[in-house]
Symmetry: C2
Subunit: 235 residues, 2 copies
DNA sequence: AAGTGGTCTAGACCACGCA
DNA sequence: GCGTGGTCTAGACCACTTG
């Protein structure tokens, strides 16, 4: 047929973007089935094999789930297994420890050196800063300082939330995250929030979450008062 | 043509195993080019597309590298970027901190409860136990207790080494690893090796390395005296 | 210019889930 | 039995690398 790839970008990637846009925009709702491969291929005027490759890409990016004999479904970012995708602190059985999350402060500021480096912003670009504390069984175990590029999250202050829900609300599709861990000493605010002596040993978690395009959307610096029954899991 | 998949296992996976065997056995040496897609497809009596899928699988498993216009090459497990694939302790610039590795003890034993669970062995199955210390700039920063299934590593005692090299020597192809981290208190031997006070805060790294088939080949429990310039990186 | 992997096509049949 | 995704085929042309 026609439709040869003349531009540099492969067709299956253009298809991925087009399909991802339908999900991000809400045209295809979480949980719903999308048209089958053949119909999609005809609609976009490509061969089934090319459409299949685009769909496979979307599946590896956790945007859809394909099930033989049933169909292709849009993943719900709020579903079990995807909400806590970036939470590497686990119980000894391997299940994520999330706990109750309490936001203690939200403010708008301009990016400092650390934020501009981690979020790939210019110094002085506007950012949101959020302070949170996580409780497990009424005991604070994690103090978090979160920074978000304000440009991506207009009007955030009325309802800050966890990055997975924010991304969904603002039509951002999350991809991968990197996290670094170290043993450090509790900062003043962290020690106060966690009710431990200042400079107590804590686990420091430094995490950047990115969109599927690789753009940073969240930088989180957490201090964690780990009981031995909690561990951080990496793959 | 003929050659339809009658058995349950897809052809491209059987091809992957066949090609991986050639690498594991040393028939295809690290760094060398392997035949092109078309020739391989003809040799195995499959269509080019199927052979391509098998080769792509091998590439995602880090066994080969494909380069457009050049060819397909067997990865050297000792090459930069693959040796330290499982070392998650990094400097702040993101580069792995390996240090000088010194083996302090090798012994044969039978699996205890922990080992049988982590290595998926029966209690009392034979295991190798290795004690190692890692030095960076003449200062000990990590104490490791390593356990290996003895069945996979006959005659190990004369030359224990890091898992990447052992696997290559014994024809095992490494796949993924999981690692869990926690803040703990230094054990007696660890404190002695690291020259810190007993029960000092250390980072505990609990790692299982597996073959591409998913079989555990190494369990390592490390205690790490982390300077703030070292962190553990997870993805 | 020749050879390689990367992309794309237009079909086929198979295995699975469901009504 | 029907529709779905999973696998497989047998080619085509394109982009890249090297002689």
């Amino acid at each position: 047929m026609s439709r040869v790839q003349l531009a540099t970008r492969p067709i299956y990637m253009q298809l991925r973007d087009a399909l991802a846009e339908r999900i991000a925009s809400g045209q295809w709702k979480p949980g719903a089935a999308i048209p089958n491969e053949g119909d999609l291929a005809r609609e976009f005027g490509v061969s089934p094999g090319t459409m299949r490759k685009a769909l496979s890409l979307l599946e590896t990016e956790h945007l859809i789930t394909r099930r033989q004999g049933r169909g292709t479904f849009v993943n719900d970012p709020a579903s079990e297994g995807l909400v806590d995708r970036f939470c590497n602190v686990r119980g000894l059985e391997g299940k994520p420890i999330v706990g109750r999350v309490e936001v203690s402060e939200v403010s708008e500021a301009t990016a400092n050196e650390m934020e501009s480096e981690r979020l790939q912003l210019r110094i002085e670009d506007p950012v949101w800063r959020i302070r949170r504390v996580r409780y497990e069984a009424d005991s604070a175990f994690m103090y978090e300082e979160v920074s978000l590029p304000a440009e991506l999250f207009p009007d955030l202050s009325d309802n800050p939330s966890r990055i997975v829900f924010l991304a969904h609300r603002y039509g951002l599709l999350l991809g991968k995250a990197e996290e670094r861990l170290a043993v450090g000493k509790a900062s003043g605010p962290a020690a106060a929030a966690l009710r431990v002596a200042p400079a107590s040993p804590v686990m420091v978690l430094d995490r950047v979450v990115r969109t599927i395009d690789g753009r940073p959307v969240e930088w989180r610096l957490a201090q964690c008062h780990l009981a031995t029954r909690y561990v951080a899991q990496m793959h």
